[in-house]
Symmetry: C2
Subunit: 428 residues, 2 copies
């Protein structure tokens, strides 16, 4: 059994998990997985971190190129993230004939084609299971077991931060700010939560999943993303009255007109398996023409779960090196499907309006919806305060552009104080 | 691209699904999966079935050995089931150097070692994703992504028939017979439902999953199985009052004393993801030391879902043949862990007793539990009819042998009419 040498670049949260798992299981992998793995070198900007993880100085460097250029290293694990240095490291390692394992969603969602083409040219593997859903196996299943299907849709709760916040807003009535503060306190949200709460993290993940599921490249910049900043506990309560939960859902659908891909807070039926995914958990719900409905659930973040996926990929890459079987499954984007514009979307909508509590207001607003071809499924009127009311409208399937036109028109109504939350309803 | 020739043996429900998927997608697989598949021959005892599926006579035979002995065939798909003819077909095909894809849980749970050893010796693949959980990817994830973990436990709702029946008993109050009749009417249960309702189907599946998860061979005969015949709608109602659902759970746990593997109706907390898996759906909940908790959910049976898994394996086997990479991951049973005896189990128990409604009966029974070292967590007494009552006991963690001893002793009590249902409570 040939020893497979690993170079690890980035000793952050996930990198620490990789060091820990290898320490626990490198011996087991020889018997259980048939590969002999050796972590020969680690790189990080922070020397203190190496000491903290018990990595002896001889196996540590602050210069990542020492790993990329080391001919003894078979697999490079890139865990620094981002699209700057990480991109060069990954491309250089692949070009040097090393297999690469990465957890870098930004890189794969932005430069996925370049990375996969470079790997194919070099005849090596690039594996990135940890880029989506932490430890949950989802990229492997899509590229292997489920490849027999024409995938029709992928719906993901793929951001643990926002799912935790929405869960706490739902169960404890916290408002957005309180939920964010609690998430930050518990280590589930960054000091700057932008990437999570504005849906950008989820957008990168659905770009990756859609690219694989629909065999057609989708990039981060192709994904319209709305976050959860506008959601209030009242929205969640009203949604529940109507039988729905509000989740930040990353959506990818194969439609007759192309790929419909987007991220936004979404109302989904309370009985649907995705509606029951709470806290920091992630889940990816996949619909295929043969398999029907299937869902993958688990811990979407954290040191060891993400490192579990990284190490699964390392073992896979090592098996391929040992069996001289690299580059067996590369880029699956053999087609070039068009992307749908969100303006062409047809969906039900939830619209919460703040209005003056006076006669005729409901009729006036209903007229505007009607004039724009938006048919109403239900209306709930709530008194907010003396003289003020909230009206929650749920529409039948309507065109996004018609709903937006209706909202623009009703903005001119005297009786309308403001448009509160507007949510799309997804009938899964 | 080399054309990979497939021989399909068994044109039943799943075989029909395979024919259908290949008809839909063989062209897609060339571009999307990089393999060129041709279904060159099908075998079944029933000639009429071939005509029904639109298979021309030249590609059909009633003699499976024609496929096994055809040197032009690269992959044999075995879908006849059972451990008789299927075993010979699989072993002969492997020995002839063909890769084999099978959905045969009985074969893998009974002769798994022999089948995997034969494949290893011949240097070919044997893949069996469809043997557990229908279309749900679970064997692939356990052998690949999750192989980085030491798996601590696998809990499966892996029998759709009994899950459907228990769901209908819970939601519509049907009794066992009515639930079975309904399941049979809807095509979810066989005319002879024994394998499903007595837990034998689930036992074969957990034997397969445990063998992979714990790297140690578990055979069907090693799995103590209890079915759902004794469950009443009252049990389900009482369980719900205590915050539990009753599911037929196939359990595999790595313990200090060895592998704890068993199938029985089980009370699980209503909030647990497995408790929410209803109807014919299947789910497999896996706990690993790195990944934490993860769950795989989907349609556990049916023609196209099972065929989805079969075809995923066929594509995988074809990629390996094309890349000359067969036998990369074979048998993972590198260890020989002992099996726990169910008598050594420590668990909470639910015990429903029919008693005479007279003073002192509760105290008398409580004494028997106490004398046997079984501590009681809660007691609910229900009047059943004039003079009769039911007492539902939930114990703290207790030894199986102590609970059995207590039940044997209390059988002698005059006030005890009969022991109703005894269930184990699993705190997941």
């Amino acid at each position: 059994m040939k020893t497979i040498n690993i170079g690890l670049i980035g000793l952050g949260t996930v990198g620490g998990g990789v060091v820990e798992i290898l320490r626990r299981h490198a011996d087991h992998y020889r018997t259980r997985a048939g590969v002999d793995l050796a972590l020969v070198k680690c790189a990080d900007r922070d020397e203190a971190r190496a000491a903290e993880l018990g990595i002896e100085p001889a196996r540590f460097t602050t210069d990542a190129s020492e790993i990329v250029n080391d001919p003894a290293i078979d697999i490079v694990v890139e865990l620094i993230g981002g699209t700057g240095a990480a991109r060069s490291i990954v491309l250089d390692a692949l070009t040097a004939g090393k297999s690469v394992v990465t957890a870098n969603k930004a890189l794969m969602a932005t430069h996925g084609r370049e990375v996969l083409d470079t790997a194919a040219e070099a005849g090596v593997d690039v594996l990135f299971e940890a880029a989506v859903g932490g430890g949950i196996p989802i990229i492997g299943p899509l590229k292997h077991s489920l490849v027999s299907n024409e995938i029709q849709a992928v719906y993901g709760i793929v951001n643990g931060t926002t799912n935790y916040m929405l869960s706490r807003m739902a169960e404890a009535g916290l408002d957005y700010d309180a939920a964010l503060a609690e998430a930050q306190e518990r280590g589930f949200a960054e000091a700057d939560p932008t990437a999570d709460v504005d849906g950008l993290d989820a957008a990168a993940k659905i770009a990756i999943l859609a690219s694989i599921a629909f065999n057609s490249r989708v990039c981060l910049e192709d994904v319209p993303a709305e976050g959860i900043r506008s959601i209030t506990p009242d929205d969640i309560a009203y949604a529940r009255e109507a039988g729905y939960e509000i989740k930040l859902v990353a959506i990818g659908r194969r439609t007759a007109g192309g790929i419909d891909v987007r991220v936004h807070p979404t109302m989904i039926r309370a009985g649907h398996p995705l509606a029951k995914v709470n806290g920091v958990h992630n889940a990816i719900y996949v619909v295929g023409d043969a398999v029907g409905e299937t869902m993958f659930f688990g811990e979407g973040a954290g040191s060891l779960p993400a490192a579990s996926a990284v190490m699964g990929d390392v073992i896979e890459a090592a098996r391929h090196i040992q069996g001289d079987c690299r580059a067996l499954v590369g880029c699956t984007c053999s087609e070039s499907l068009p992307l749908c514009s969100i303006e062409d979307l047809s969906s039900s909508y939830y619209v919460r309006l703040h209005v003056r509590d006076e006669p005729g207001v409901l009729a006036a607003i209903a007229s505007v919806f009607g004039e724009n071809g938006v048919s109403i499924a239900s209306v709930i009127q709530k008194r907010a305060a003396e003289g003020d009311a909230e009206i929650v409208w749920i529409t039948h399937a309507a065109a996004e552009r018609d709903v937006q036109a209706a909202l623009a028109t009703m903005a001119a109504l005297d009786a309308l104080d403001s448009v509160g939350t507007v949510l799309r309803v997804e009938e899964l």
